[in-house]
Amino acid sequence: MIEQNLVSGPYTHAKASVRRTMGLVLLALLPATAFSLYWFGWPAIFLFLVTVVSALIAEAVCLRIAGKPIKPYLLDGSALLTGWLLAMTLPPWAPWWIGVVGALIAIVVAKHVFGGIGQNLFNPAMVARVALLISFPLEMTLFTTPTPLLSANDPGLLGGLAITFGGAANMDAVSSATTLGHVKTELSRGLTLDQIDAIHTPWQLTWGDASGSMGETSALLLLLGGLFLLLKRVISWTIPVAMLGTLIIVAGTFHLIDPTRYLDPLTHLLSGAVILGAFFIATDLVTSPVSVRGQILFGAGCGLLVYVIRTWAGYPEGVAFAVILMNACTPLIDHYFKPRIYGRDRKGEALEYTDKKAGES
C-alpha cells in the first residue's frame, strides 16, 4: 500500500543536522567577531570577507571536482566556519592575498585532499595558519593596536581598502607587538620579567583592547561563546577544561618556581588564542577524539604543548602548533581510549561476578 524504502529505525529523529551544529558554532563566534571587526576597523572587515568568500569558492570548486552535490555540502556551513576561524587567526591588517592563500590551503590542501568533510586529519584553519606563519613570517607577525571604527585612528573605508588591497599600510605608525611576542623578545634580550613593562593590562586582554589577531583579543566574548556551545551541547566540557586546566597548572607551577622567568597563568590564559583554541579549535569535532577519556588526554596534551611552545620554542604563540600536533595523535588516542562496553571490563572480557550472591541487596 505504501511505498517505503526498507531502512531500519528509528523512525523519528532529533532536531540535529550538520548545518545546525555548524550554525551554532558560528553563532557562538558572532559576538567576538563583530566586536573585533569594530575594534580593528575596515581593513579587518575586508580581510575577513576576502577569507570567508575565498573559502566558500574553494569549497564549491573542490566539491565540483569531487563530483559531490554542491548545494547541500556548501550549505552545511563547514567551509564558512573554516574560513571564519582562519580569518580570526590572521593579523587584522594583513594584505588580501594572505586571506586567499590561507583559505586555499585550508579548504583544498587540509580538507579536500583528505576526502572532504569529516575526513581531514588536521584542523584546516590551523594547517592554513601554520603554513602562512612559516611561509610569510613578516606579514603574519605585524600586529596593530586597535583602531576602532569612527575613532581618530580609523583609516576609514577607502583607507581600509588601500591597506587590505593596496599594501598601503603605514605599519610603523600603528604597529605594536602582542603581549606574548613582546615578552618573548624581551626575555631573549636577557631581561627578566620584572624588568619588562607590561604592554597590556589583564583587563585590556579580557576586553580585547590589545594588539593581536581577532581571535586573540576579547577573551571574554570568546569565553561567552564557548559557554554557549557547552550549554547547547555542541561541544563537551572535556577538551576545554583539560586544556585550560593543564595550561593553568603548568604555568602556575613554573611561575611559582621562578616568577622572573615564567609568565603568570592569568596572562597565559588571557593572551594569545588560548580561549579561542580551547573552545573553538581544539574542540573541532572532526579532528578530536571521540571518547571522554580520549578527549581529556587530547585537551591536556594541547594545554601542555601550548605552554612548552610559548616558553621554550621559537614562536611566541603555540596554539596552532599544539592543536595540529595533537590532531596527529587523535587516531592513536581513539584506538587506545575507547569507552568500556556494557557488561565487559576494560579489556573487553565479559564481566564475572565471583560472589554469585553479590547481587542481593
Binding site: 523512525y11 572532526v286 571521540v290 550472591k357 553479590a358
Partner: protein
Amino acid sequence: MKSNLRKLFKVRGGVHPDDRKSLNAEFPIEDLPLPDLLHIPLQQHIGAPAEPLVRRGETVAKGQLLARCQGAMSAPVHAPTSGRIMGVGGYPAHHASGLSVRTITLKPDGEDRWIDDLDPVPEPFLLSPEAIAERVAKAGIVGMGGATFPSAVKLNLRNRYDLHTLVINGAECEPYLTCDDRLMREQSEDIMNGILLIARALGTTQVLIAIENNKPDAQAAMRAAAAKHPQVDVVGIPTRYPMGSEKHMVQALTGKETPARGLTADIGVVVHNVATALAVYEAVFHGRPLISRIMTVSGEAVSRPRNLRVLLGTPLQNLVDHCGGFTEEPVRLISGGPMMGQPLPSIRVPAVKGSNGLLALTEKEVRAQPEMPCIRCASCVSVCPCGLVPLEMAANIRAGSLDASVSLGLLDCVACGSCSYICPSHIPLVHYFKFAKGELAARQRAQHKQGETKRLAEARTLRMEEIKRAKREAMAKRKKAMEEKKRREAEAAEAEA
C-alpha cells in the same frame, strides 16, 4: 515500612525523544468489535512455529487450542473467538518483509462462545511453581513487550539460576505507546496478581515494578495495588530512552551490569513485562489462554489515536478503520514504537502477540533527511547506553570489515537506535549494524553447512569403503568356501574311487 524513594544507579547514555504520548494517553482501553475474518499466524513468538491441529471447515470455540507447541522453544496458538476455520495456508506476516507465513484463517460466528473446559484455578497461590509455569506454557503466553520470548521458558529459569529479584517492566520508554500505561491504570489489581504468580513461579523474594516518571497515574495505581504486599516495590525511573531495555533497567535498579552475552538471570534478576503479568493472571486465575492484547494506534496520520483491546489475528485495517482512518497518507507504517519498531508493508497484516502499537507517521514526525558524511561529532558515542563507538563500527561495516566491527562490540549492541536518532548527519547507523549482524549470521550458517556437508561426505566415503571391504571379505569367504567344497568333493570322489 516501604519507601517510595529507592536509590537508583547511573546508566550511561540515552536520548530524550519527544514522547508524543499525550496523543492517546488519556483514552481508556476500548474493545475493538469482532472483525469479519481473523488471520492467526502459527508463529507469533521466538522459536519453532506451532503445529496446526484443526482442519478447514471445523468449528472451534473461543479459547480452543488451534495449534500446539512444537519443541521446547515454542508457544501454542488458540482461537480468539468462536467460529469456523476457513483454511490453513499462507498469509502476509506481521513483518517488514511481508512474506507469507503459515496462518489459520478463522471466520467468527459472532457468538463469541468460550470452550467448556476453561479450568480456572480456585486457589492460584497454592499452585506449585512447576504448575504455574505449565499453565503459562499451555496458555501460549510470550513476552508481550515485543520480544515474544516464550514466558514459560523464562519462568523455568529458577532451575538453573539463583534468582532473588523479579523486575516488572512498565517503563514503556518508546514514544507514542501508552498500552502498558493504560493497562496499569485500569487493571492494576489483576496485574498485581499476575506479578505475584510470576514471583512465586520464579521463587524470588523481591519484586520491583519499574515505571518511567512520565506516567504518574500508572505509578499511583500500581503503588495502591502493591500496598498490601511488602515484598513489592514500585520504582519511578527517569524518563529516558532506552530505560525499558531489560539490561539497562536492571542496571538502574541494582547497579549491576549483566555480563556480556549473558542473561539478567546471571545476576539473579528476571524481567517480565506488565502485559505479560496480566496474561499470566488471566491464564491461571481464569484458565483463559492468550487470545487478545492491548495495542496503541497512534501517529499524526491517524484521525483518532486510541488504545484498543484487539483479538490476535485481527487485520490492522480494522484498527485503522475503528480509529477513523487516515487523515493523510502516512509516510511510515510502524509496528511497535518509532525507535525500535519495524516498518510494515501494509495494514492487511494481522495483529500478533508481540505487537504493542500501530503507528502511522507523517513526514513531519519522521524527520527523515538525506545521509551526509560523518563529522565525528561523537554524539553517538555519548548517547550509546552500551559504551560502543557506533561511528567506527559503521565505518568498518561500510568498508566490509565485519570482523573488525565485531571486535569493536557489534554483538554487544542492543539496536536501541539512540545513535541513529541523534546523528546530525542522519546516518542510519542501526541499519548498518543490523545488516552486519544478518550478514554474520548468514556466514555462520554457510560455514555450518559447509562443515556439515564435509562431515557427511566423509562419512559417506567411510561407509562406502566399509561396504566395499565387507563385500570383498564376503567374496573371499565365499571363494574360500567354494574351494573348500570343491576340495572336499574332490576328496570324496577320490575316496569313492
